[in-house]
């Protein structure tokens, strides 16, 4: 009896137990509080919701139209990831095909972006966007171009920012494809486009999957660029959440219903694609 107790009460078990509690309690609090009334949350913070109420979700979706921001986030994430993957696989293919000093130069040029922290970039980027908009507005022969509070504008900015990391991940993988493969195909008269679409991309799928997941999580969760560039029309979910904080102060049940709405799509995807998520997020973050 004493032995079994001792076997279970070692440092490992105790540490794992404590850390599991530390990780779980905040997560469970979010789920449970989002189903509570403010009144129950205040009086019984640790008890499970009783009765379970969906009023918080109803308030967010019906009164505040949270679904609009949900759609914005969805469109932003989808378009950004597709464009970044398209453009960066093209760059990676060119780097690998060109090889030599041109390949090295291109790779260095795109990797340089990894060393510019967002905090350094945002001020001149904002200044640039203001100038671009006024140029386009002042010249009659130019179409009206909007970056601020427009989803296409935000997509262009996110795509530009994320090219570096994606080129870095995908080039690293594409380099391992034997060059002879492309050379042989070129000998047989294949065009560059054919080799890009039928050889390079299919053979790089694992790295493309990693990069896509990494990019999805980054864009879906991003606050900084939506904070700078969106108003009411192009507002994303994270941005909407940020605004609710101002409105509801410490009405955590409603805030947590918002947190649930932002998190659920990613958590659901994580549950089904665990291995891919873990691989994608670790490789992406390390290289960033």
């Amino acid at each position: 009896m004493f032995r079994t107790v001792r076997r279970w009460l070692n440092l490992r078990t105790i540490s794992l137990f404590i850390f599991t509690v530390v990780i779980l309690v905040p997560l469970l609090t979010v789920v449970s509080a989002s189903l509570k009334t403010m009144r129950q949350y205040v009086t019984e913070p640790l008890k499970p919701p009783s009765p379970i109420t969906f009023d918080n979700y109803r308030d967010l979706f019906v009164d505040y139209g949270l679904h609009r921001y949900f759609v914005n986030s969805l469109v932003l994430t989808f378009c950004t990831v597709v464009l970044v993957i398209l453009f960066s696989t093209m760059v990676s293919y060119a780097i690998v095909r060109a090889g030599g000093w041109i390949g090295t130069l291109l790779f260095g040029l795109f990797s340089a972006g990894l060393m510019i922290p967002a905090q350094v970039n945002i001020i001149p980027l904002y200044g640039l966007v203001v100038k671009l908009e006024s140029w386009f507005a002042s010249a009659a022969w130019l179409p009206d171009l909007k970056f601020r509070d427009s989803l296409p504008g935000l997509i262009v900015i996110e795509v530009s920012i994320l090219l570096s990391i994606s080129v870095f991940i995908i080039t690293g993988f594409m380099k391992t494809i034997p060059r002879e493969l492309f050379e042989a195909a070129a000998m047989d008269g294949s065009s560059e486009w054919w080799m890009y679409a039928k050889l390079a991309v299919p053979l790089s799928l694992p790295s493309i999957a990693s990069a896509s997941i990494f990019l999805c999580v980054i864009v879906w969760n991003d606050l900084l660029y939506p904070l700078l560039f969106t108003g009411e029309k192009a507002k994303t979910l994270t941005m909407a959440l940020m605004m609710f904080r101002g409105e509801y102060e410490s009405n955590y049940p409603i805030l947590f219903a918002g947190v649930m709405t932002v998190s659920l799509p990613m958590v659901a995807a994580y549950v089904f694609l665990q291995r891919w998520f873990i691989a994608g997020l670790t490789s992406g973050s390390l290289k960033g």
């Binding site: 794992l16 972006g113 350094v120 001149p124 530009s160 606050l223 998190s263 990613m266 998520f277």
Partner: protein
């Protein structure tokens, strides 16, 4: 066979976007830092080094944000590295239970920083906070004001960062540990090495490269923790959790001092570069010493 010239068309779309929105701003930012531009009006003056002089000699809030950033960084680097290594050692074997725990510990990594910020703001809340309620169960009535007390607020925010990212770094350590050949541990066991000796002389030297990566990544990550701090405290109370990133944002986009904030961002860039170099040197000599 040489690739055709058409290959350069492949680079074009990316290069245009990257050139306009990433490369050009990097230089433009340096230029703005020598002006007094407000970010909105068409005109501005060139002020030479005045922004830098003011920033470095008589801006106490900037000095405070640098100090806070260092506190935040030290806390996160030390606690997060230690915890992720510890749990990697505990969960290194691929048993069902271990894999389940790893999956759970990794989960906060995929949450948005805004979500993490709100979750921990609720945990720390001084009226209806969950931590307060839990301490209440043990009879503690006057717990610390986690986010209200200026002396500890920055560490409370740093802990939220640790909570969110320990699992991710644990995975990197586990990958490093699993790459160590099993016979090395067998030899150590036959030689009668204690658990600590095995760690010190077998495990540690072999995962030092992974540790170097983890520490470097964590350091940069803690310099860039803008979203977490901004969403949780906005730098308050009374600048107690102001870090360089929130300082830059506040000056540029709330006070419209684009020139001055740009100067701060250049100083920030130098900080990041210096820390990267120091770390690179330290970690290299550390490994050479093993």
């Amino acid at each position: 066979m040489k690739p055709s010239k058409g290959i350069y068309l492949f680079v074009l779309p990316a290069l245009i976007l990257y050139g306009i929105f990433v490369l050009y701003p990097a230089f433009y930012g340096l230029y703005i830092s020598f002006t007094n531009w407000d970010g909105l009006s068409a005109g501005y003056d060139h002020v030479g080094l005045r922004n830098y002089r003011n920033l470095l000699t008589n801006d106490t809030i900037f000095a405070k944000s640098v100090a806070n950033n260092l506190k935040f960084m030290l806390f996160v680097v030390i606690v997060q590295t230690a915890l992720s290594l510890l749990f990697a050692l505990f969960l290194v074997r691929n048993t069902k239970g271990n894999i389940a725990l790893r999956t759970l510990y990794f989960l906060p990594t995929i949450l948005a920083s805004v979500s993490v910020a709100f979750i921990w703001a609720a945990m720390y809340d001084s009226n209806f906070g969950v931590i307060k309620a839990i301490l209440g169960l043990f009879g503690v009535r006057n717990g610390p004001g986690w986010l209200a007390d200026p002396d500890i607020a920055i560490y409370s925010v740093a802990f939220a960062q640790v909570w969110a990212h320990t699992g991710q770094l644990m995975i990197i350590f586990i990958a490093g540990l699993q790459a160590i050949p099993a016979d090395l541990f067998e030899v150590a066991a036959i030689e009668g090495a204690s658990k600590f000796q095995t760690f010190r002389f077998v495990t540690w030297p072999l995962i030092a490269p992974a540790a170097a990566i983890v520490i470097a990544y964590t350091t940069l990550q803690s310099f860039k923790a803008f979203e977490l701090v901004f969403a949780m405290t906005r730098g308050g109370p009374n600048y107690a959790t102001e870090i360089i990133a929130t300082f830059i944002y506040r000056l540029a986009f709330q006070s419209y001092k684009f020139g001055y904030a740009s100067a701060a961002s250049m100083v920030f860039l130098v900080f990041v570069a210096v820390i990267t170099v120091i770390q690179f040197k330290l970690l290299r000599t550390d490994r050479a010493g093993e």
